[in-house]
């Protein structure tokens, strides 16, 4: 196990070095903190950063919420339907980039949803179709991440649901609790660990991944990962430290996020009565 940690840390270390202009392939002319300075002074960097955060947060939240709800309902299905419900695992197998493709096929102005709107009489030409993919809000990416994220959240939650004693639910129902009440006060707290794990994983993944933005990213603001990709591969090699600097910032952010989130969750948990 240790060699791997060494390699992982080695890789991160090298990234950090290159962001300071050390150990770059071509001799670097600038100062050590030049790359960071350039980023801090670039408003588009911050725009991209917060945009990436926003897209990641919305898609992760929605995935976990919808995923938990769907998992709960699927768990309640009678046995015959339960095996058929395994179709929810399909998007798990599809690569992210294919899911992006599917969203493109559905939601582009010349796509399926637009054709349906046309046949229902809502629009006449394809240009009247509302701007889903290119609005500047990253809706296309959010849809794609959510389509991938819901089954993932469902999977995590199912693991806990399977161990759940359905008699507790039945008892509560017998005592007169409504469906909603049962869900929120009995089931949800038990599922919380899976939900938190799911959120952290989905959030951080969407923040840094570049498969889906590769297909669906918008120009302004763009996702951070695409910016890094462009800086690394498409621009002058002298801009390598900038790319590495962004990566270092993303890495630090991820670490800080994990720590802070875990602390907050632990804090909240201590106030909850355990059944």
């Amino acid at each position: 196990m240790l060699p791997y940690l060494v390699l992982f840390c080695g890789g991160v270390f090298l990234t950090v070095c290159q962001s300071f202009g050390v150990l770059t392939p071509l001799p670097y002319g600038g100062g050590a903190l030049d790359a960071y300075g350039k980023l801090m002074g670039d408003p588009s960097f911050f725009a991209s950063f917060f945009f990436s955060l926003g897209v990641a947060a919305v898609s992760a939240l929605f995935s976990v919420a919808a995923g938990t709800f769907l998992a709960y309902r699927v768990w309640q299905l009678p046995r015959q339907l339960a095996s058929a419900a395994l179709v929810y695992k399909i998007p798990l197998i599809l690569p992210h980039i294919s899911v992006a493709f599917v969203i493109l096929v559905f939601w582009s102005p010349s796509g399926i949803m637009s054709s349906m709107a046309h046949s229902l009489g809502f629009i006449q030409t394809l240009h009247q179709f509302p701007n889903v993919l290119y609005s500047g809000w990253g809706i296309g990416m959010i849809l794609a991440y959510t389509l991938k994220g819901i089954p993932f959240a469902m999977l995590l939650v199912m693991v806990l649901l399977v161990r759940f004693d359905i008699r507790q639910v039945q008892t509560a129902a017998m005592l007169g609790a409504s469906g909603l009440r049962i869900f929120f006060t009995i089931v949800l707290p038990r599922l919380a660990p899976a939900m938190h794990t799911g959120f952290i994983i989905l959030f951080l993944y969407s923040f840094g991944a570049f498969d889906i933005p590769y297909i669906l990213s918008e120009s302004r603001p763009g996702m951070l990962s695409i910016h890094v990709y462009n800086l690394y591969f498409k621009h002058d090699l002298a801009r390598r430290p900038e790319a590495m600097a962004i990566l270092v910032i993303m890495f630090c952010f991820s670490l800080v996020f994990i720590i802070v989130y875990s602390k907050i969750v632990n804090h909240l948990d201590n106030g909850v009565r355990k059944l």
Binding site: M1, Y4, L5, L7, F8, G11, V12, L14, T15, C17, Q18, L23, L70, R73, L77, L81, A85, V87, Y88, I90, P91, L92, I93, L94, P95, H96, I97, S98, A100, F101, V105, F106, P109, S110, I112, S115, H118, S119, L126, L147, P151, I200, I201, L204, G208, F210, D211, I215, S225, Y232, A243, L247, V248, M250, F251, S254, L255, I258, I259, S262
Partner: protein, 261 residues
């Protein structure tokens, strides 16, 4: 009625895309305002037939390195998972968190620096290098699964076997591993899928020498040749499903024989 509704939602969300992919693969020109494609063409399928050798090669290569990654992560995580599941020691939570980081941070952050190191160690452009880097960022899934598995299994069986005189290795292989199978399968499936669908890392570290199915799929997903993109995606979907079905069947048979099901 409620059940039917949920079922409808599931189908719409998860099955409809596959149906649409099938349609797109047969009708590349499908566009507004047709709700159902007008012109079907087999151009995509013909391309498939002509390039079957290339597609099969990359498919088997992807399969190979994904399976190797599963094996590597299993070997990597087995012992540490046992230690983690059964012992309490100071700083355990912190160490566990640290061990899980590679799966949480964007792979780009360490992959690019790592590429340089791999070249220095002559690991770049090799199958071994690709397996290593895939294992490096997917092992947390196997690790977590195994820890849960060990915790669920408990130490009882192991202690019994030890009392009866079995060696540690023997206990591991003959008592614990079979009991861990569900956890291994769960973790292994995730690792397999992660490795199988990885494009960027395989590309970067494999340097073009290690074929991968994603290497063919991704450039085409970007192009305007939609039917090819759809067909290759469907193939991509097909393989793991078949694999998982096979594993399921084999395992059920084996466990049934052993009387464990």
């Amino acid at each position: 009625m409620r059940h039917a509704l949920i079922f409808l939602v599931l189908v719409l969300l998860f099955v409809l895309p596959v149906v649409v992919l099938v349609l797109v693969s047969l009708a590349p020109g499908w566009r507004f305002p047709d709700v159902w494609p007008e012109n079907f063409s087999f151009r995509g399928l013909i391309y498939l037939a002509r390039h079957q050798k290339q597609i099969l090669t990359s498919l088997s290569s992807s399969l190979l390195f994904s399976l190797l990654t599963v094996l590597t992560t299993l070997i990597m995580c087995l012992f540490p998972a046992a230690v983690f599941a059964r012992n309490k020691f100071p700083g355990k939570a912190l160490l566990e968190g640290l061990l899980l980081t590679p799966a949480l941070v964007p792979p780009m952050t360490f992959a690019m620096g790592l590429h340089f190191l791999f070249i220095k160690f002559s690991l770049a452009d090799t199958l071994v290098g690709v397996v290593l880097i895939l294992a490096m960022f997917s092992y947390p899934y196997m690790f977590r699964s195994l820890v849960a598995g060990f915790q669920a299994m408990g130490e009882g069986y192991g202690i019994c076997a030890k009392n009866l005189g079995a060696s540690t290795l023997s206990i591991l292989l003959r008592v614990e591993l079979p009991l861990l199978m569900p956890a291994v399968i769960a973790g292994g499936s995730v690792v397999f899928l992660v490795a199988f669908s990885e494009y960027f890392l395989v590309f970067l570290i494999g340097g073009g020498s290690v074929a991968s199915f994603t290497g063919i799929l991704i450039p085409l997903l970007n192009s305007s040749n939609r039917s090819l993109a759809a067909i290759l995606t469907l193939i991509f979907l097909f393989l793991p499903i078949v694999l998982f079905l096979i594993i399921d069947m084999v395992l059920v048979r084996v466990y049934r024989k052993k009387g464990m099901v």
